[in-house]
């Protein structure tokens, strides 16, 4: 099962990173969300996997590690706040810059090869 769990985390990371690398804001937000799932699962697993051992005293003889759980709990909430902030930033960026490209404007068409060099970006 550990192998399965690790593969799930890996798949989430891969999908998340791929989406983060896209050029439009919305997929990037989706990617960030997915990536934060992966990070949360990863952090959570540092307390190892255990079945039916919730860290509530008196309900079982052995308990899962409560510390990563506490850390991940707040991480989930803050992750939401950050996702929200990024998505609102994306909306604001689209309104102010007229494009939902992550760089604020469309790259120059037809010069894909050296577009990184020639592009002037307003910050």
């Amino acid at each position: 099962m550990e192998l399965l769990y690790a593969s799930c985390v890996g798949i989430l990371v891969s999908c998340g990173v791929f989406l983060i690398l896209r050029s439009r804001t919305f997929p990037v937000v989706l990617g960030l969300t997915m990536f934060s799932y992966a990070v949360n699962l990863f952090l959570f697993s540092s307390g190892r996997l255990s079945l039916n051992q919730a860290a509530v005293l008196g309900y079982s003889s052995e308990y899962a590690d409560p510390l990563p759980q506490a850390l991940v709990l707040t991480a989930i909430v803050i992750g939401f706040a950050m996702t929200a902030f990024v998505v609102i930033l994306a909306i604001r960026g689209r309104v102010d810059l007229g494009s939902d490209h992550v760089d604020g404007q469309l790259p120059n068409k037809g010069s894909n090869k050296n577009k990184d060099k020639n592009k002037k970006v307003k910050i």
Partner: protein
């Protein structure tokens, strides 16, 4: 506590004087002077103990694990400096009252001056070297503010930047040196460091440490070749120069030499580096000073030269040389401060400082002239004045040197030459300004200054005379005490006296005086010679160096940072890939010793769903709604995974957050295009696939390696103490609100800040609201379906009750403030969806900002509350109460903390969604563009 009050009072004075803008000039001055005067009396009170050989100490433990304390100590050396800083500071404040014109902001100057005074007091009194460094940097910053006081002048700005760059750079070197020193000794405590001379000097890092610390001292004390910032700092108002360049800023460097003298001095490298730097500075400064036409320029180079003299004295390998250095520190401070003030008066009364224009001032201001002439004579080292005594000591010490081997006779020769130049520039100061014919078109008709403007100079000149005539009476105690501190407990027999009989030093003095007068009388030839030399413009060189460095950095930065987010991300992920992936190859075996758990059907199905969801999200990422729906599948499966693996709290949180996130993203989609265009080239897709795939493999491997190894956790402590110490059985919740409550406080603050940031981003957003989707299909007419409206309304009380229940049981069973807050938020969001925000706004007005603020305030004050019971921040209190009919219930202060968490979560979540949702509700939808107010 008195020791701590000395710097604290001057800091207080800085705050007070910054608020005296509405008062008259006299009131403002009086209020500003009050604090240093009180501090001065406190110091006088402490003085007898220090004279008796005690060291007064005061320590407040701050970060004991890092060895950083708030620690002050007052020994003889510190006492001497505290006296100088306070007395000259008070005089400067008084003087500035008359110097500043009515256009200049007096509170501003006073506030900066007092801040600077605080920093200086902090340096000389610190008993912790890190703290010392902090104050050191504070002097750099506050001197920057002081030099740039007339910020509208370009030269003031440039001078300030130059001073900050040089002294700030030296400060960095000093930090490095002090950290090394702390590492060698094993403590940042000055007492320990000063007592560890042998350990330090035997250590392999001694040379590096010494050079770094000396760099700090030399840059601050304007030693050659770092001297050039000081003349440019003369753009400051003259009271500032009088303070910074006589008693304080530049003396901080020589103070550092004196402070670490017991620990660092005594080796060959110290003697060579310190004495040669001092000698070079002494000669260079004295020579250049003669050619400056600006009065302040002359004084600036003279200051450089005298600092060189003091440095040289610290570099000579006799004990008496250090005593002479301390003595000269005092003398230089008094005569130089009075000379700067006299220059200020001349500038103030005539409108110029150019010695080619200023001539024959004696007729116009005889009284000021007399004072200035006495001070200048002290600078030249004329008998009956304090400068003479320390110069005699200096000459005497140069005679017993073996530093340069058989060429050691060069030192007294150079010293005499420098002395001659000092006499020459002092003679120029006196003769050119007060005699030498008639003034040349002065901007103003000169006259004596206001009566009280001369008072500070009178005080200082009186000191010069008194020390010069009755040295033992005035200076003996403090000089002995300071020497005691510098020499580490041993003071050689010495006697400061006016008359030692006819001896070699006296002869040297005689040669210096006659030589100096000769140089001055023949100055015409020297000027011609000097004019034929190529001019070396330090400012231009400095500017060029800076320009080249900035350009270089810009080029390097632009090479990496070209404004493309994708590029940054790719680079960042590659670095992560390398850093995280590399160690994996060095690991012998990926899987650990832990017994693996078998895969059951449920888990396999869940994992399959999760993977399918994730992959579908990627596959359909161009069709944004579909992709979002797929993402929600992943979120749900994550929450299921938490349930499965014994984390009910996480599952509940994930579930509720998932709902909120998806609603938010749905809303966002309303304002963003519905589709992503195909943009990336195939090569780029391939590259991204490669990076993301590799990163996934690396993370999966690390995760696998991690979870197959046995666990050693600190959590046993939490499990053991949750019930007894925190009063709850749900350990996760107890950790959140009790053990790690401070973290949680920080986290809800982050949440609140994010919500406020979103609010600010959305306020006054000129939003284009489409009346149809991208394919031209109009939005549904019926915005608020009746069925949803009625169901959601009846669900609300139920949902609130559930959230209340979840909240209450949180301390003992899965639940708590975070989850309850999210449930409440979801219940309200449902109302927004079902009825629209206008419908809600008609019924209740909620200010979410206030809710967030009150939530954080409640959490904070619960923590602060434990202070009132004498406990550390955020100590939980709990008690069991037996109430008839209801039974035993438990009340804990952590519950109140959790209320704060709950309120913040509700407020933040609702603010984020309601702010965005509000935008969609703005009618009419067919308006092309519209300002929306929330």
């Amino acid at each position: 506590m008195t020791l701590l009050w000395i710097p604290l009072l001057s800091l207080l004075g800085s705050i007070i004087s910054s608020m005296t803008g509405k008062l008259s000039r006299n009131q403002s001055t009086a209020l500003t002077m009050l604090m240093p005067i009180i501090a001065l009396f406190m110091t006088i009170d402490l003085a007898p103990a220090v004279f008796a050989g005690d060291v007064v100490r005061e320590t407040i433990s701050w970060i004991p694990l890092l060895g950083i304390d708030i620690a002050f100590r007052l020994d003889g050396l510190a006492l001497l400096f505290v006296f100088m800083i306070l007395v000259i500071g008070i005089l400067v404040i008084f003087y500035a009252r008359y110097y500043l014109s009515s256009n200049d902001s007096m509170p501003k100057l006073y506030a900066y001056l007092m801040l600077f005074m605080t920093a200086m007091l902090g340096i000389v009194m610190s008993n912790n070297v890190i703290q010392l460094w902090f104050f050191w940097e504070l002097t750099s910053i506050s001197s920057f503010l002081l030099i740039s006081y007339w910020w509208h002048k370009a030269e003031a700005r440039n001078g300030a930047i130059m001073a900050l760059t040089i002294t700030g750079g030296g400060g960095l070197a000093l930090l490095g040196g002090l950290l090394l020193l702390g590492n060698i000794v094993g403590s940042y405590n000055l007492d320990v460091i000063l007592a560890s001379r042998d350990i330090i000097q035997a250590h392999a890092w001694y040379e590096v440490t010494l050079i770094l610390i000396l760099l700090g001292a030399f840059t601050k004390s304007a030693q050659f070749p770092f001297h050039f910032w000081l003349p440019h700092a003369m753009a400051a108002p003259t009271p500032v120069s009088a303070y910074l360049h006589s008693a304080t800023m530049v003396k901080a460097g020589v103070f550092l030499l004196a402070r670490f003298y017991p620990a660092l001095a005594g080796t060959d490298i110290w003697f060579i580096v310190v004495s040669l730097t001092g000698l070079a500075t002494l000669l260079f400064g004295a020579y250049v000073a003669l050619f400056k036409h600006d009065l302040k320029g002359l004084l600036a180079y003279s200051t450089i030269s005298h600092l060189g003299l003091i440095t040289l004295l610290f570099g000579l390998d006799t004990k008496l040389a250090a005593v002479a250095a301390i003595f000269h520190i005092i003398n230089h401070a008094t005569f130089k401060a009075s000379l700067f003030m006299a220059t200020g008066i001349i500038d103030h009364e005539t409108g110029t400082r150019d010695m080619r224009k200023l001539n024959g001032m004696w007729r116009f201001m005889p009284y000021t002239a007399t004072l200035a002439m006495v001070a200048a004579a002290a600078m030249a080292g004329v008998p009956l004045l304090n400068g003479f005594l320390s110069k005699e000591m200096f000459f005497a010490e140069t005679l017993h040197q073996q530093l340069l081997g058989s060429m050691s006779w060069l030192i007294p020769v150079f010293a005499t030459i420098a002395g001659a130049f000092a006499v020459a520039y002092s003679a120029r100061f006196i003769h050119d300004v007060f005699f030498n014919g008639e003034p040349v078109d002065l901007p103003k008709q000169p006259s004596e200054p206001p009566r009280y403007m001369r008072v500070p100079i009178e005080v200082l000149v009186a000191l010069c005379l008194m020390v010069g005539i009755f040295p033992n009476f005035i200076i003996d105690d403090i000089l002995k005490a300071a020497s005691f501190a510098v020499l580490g407990g041993y003071v050689p027999e010495f006697k400061v006296a006016l008359w030692h009989g006819f001896n070699l030093p006296l002869l040297m003095s005689g040669i210096a005086v006659t030589g100096g007068l000769l140089i001055y009388s023949q100055r015409r030839y020297l000027y011609q010679f000097q004019a034929s030399l190529p001019t070396l413009n330090a400012k231009k060189a400095f500017d060029n160096t800076l320009y080249v460095m900035v350009k270089w950095c810009q080029r390097k930065v632009h090479a990496i940072e070209n404004g493309s987010l994708q590029r940054y991300l790719v680079l960042m992920f590659m670095v992560v890939l390398f850093l995280a992936g590399w160690p994996l190859f060095e690991m012998s075996q990926l899987s650990g010793q832990k017994q693996l758990t078998p895969i059951d059907v449920h888990n396999a199905m869940g994992a399959a769903l999760l993977m399918a969801g994730a992959i579908s999200t990627v596959i359909w990422y161009r069709t944004r709604v579909v992709s979002l729906l797929m993402l929600s599948v992943v979120g749900l499966m994550v929450s299921v995974a938490f349930t499965r693996f014994s984390a009910p709290d996480l599952a509940l949180t994930q579930l509720t957050v998932e709902v909120v996130t998806i609603i938010l993203l749905m809303l966002a989609l309303f304002f963003l295009p519905q589709h992503s265009p195909k943009e990336s080239s195939s090569m780029r897709v391939l590259r991204d696939l490669g990076i993301s795939g590799a990163l996934g493999i690396v993370v999966a491997s690390i995760c696998y390696a991690l979870i197959t190894r046995p666990l050693e956790s600190i959590s046993d402590f939490f499990l053991a103490n949750a019930k007894t110490g925190g009063g709850g059985t749900n350990v996760v919740n107890v950790i959140l609100v009790d053990f790690r409550g401070f973290d949680t406080l920080g986290e809800i603050c982050v949440l609140g800040i994010a919500a406020l940031g979103i609010y600010k981003l959305l306020v006054n957003l000129p939003l284009y609201i489409p009346d149809s989707d991208s394919k031209g299909r109009p939005w549904a007419k019926e915005r608020y379906p009746i069925l949803l409206a009625s169901i959601s309304q009846s669900l609300l009380p139920l949902a609130l009750m559930v959230s209340f229940y979840i909240f209450l049981r949180g301390h003992n069973l899965p639940g708590g403030g975070f989850i309850a807050g999210l449930v409440t938020a979801v219940a309200f969001i449902l109302q927004y969806i079902a009825h629209g925000s206008n419908w809600i706004a008609e019924r209740i007005t909620i200010n979410y900002r206030k809710i967030i603020a009150s939530g954080i305030a409640i959490a904070l004050f619960t923590g602060v509350g434990s202070w009132f019971f004498g406990r550390p921040f955020m100590t939980t209190w709990f008690e069991y109460f037996d109430i008839p009919l209801i039974g035993e219930i438990e009340l804990a202060s952590a519950l109140i903390f959790d209320v704060g968490v709950y309120i913040t979560v509700v407020g933040s979540t609702l603010m984020i969604l309601a702010s965005l949702g509000q935008l969609t509700a703005s009618e009419p939808a067919n308006a092309p563009s519209k300002e929306v107010n929330i």
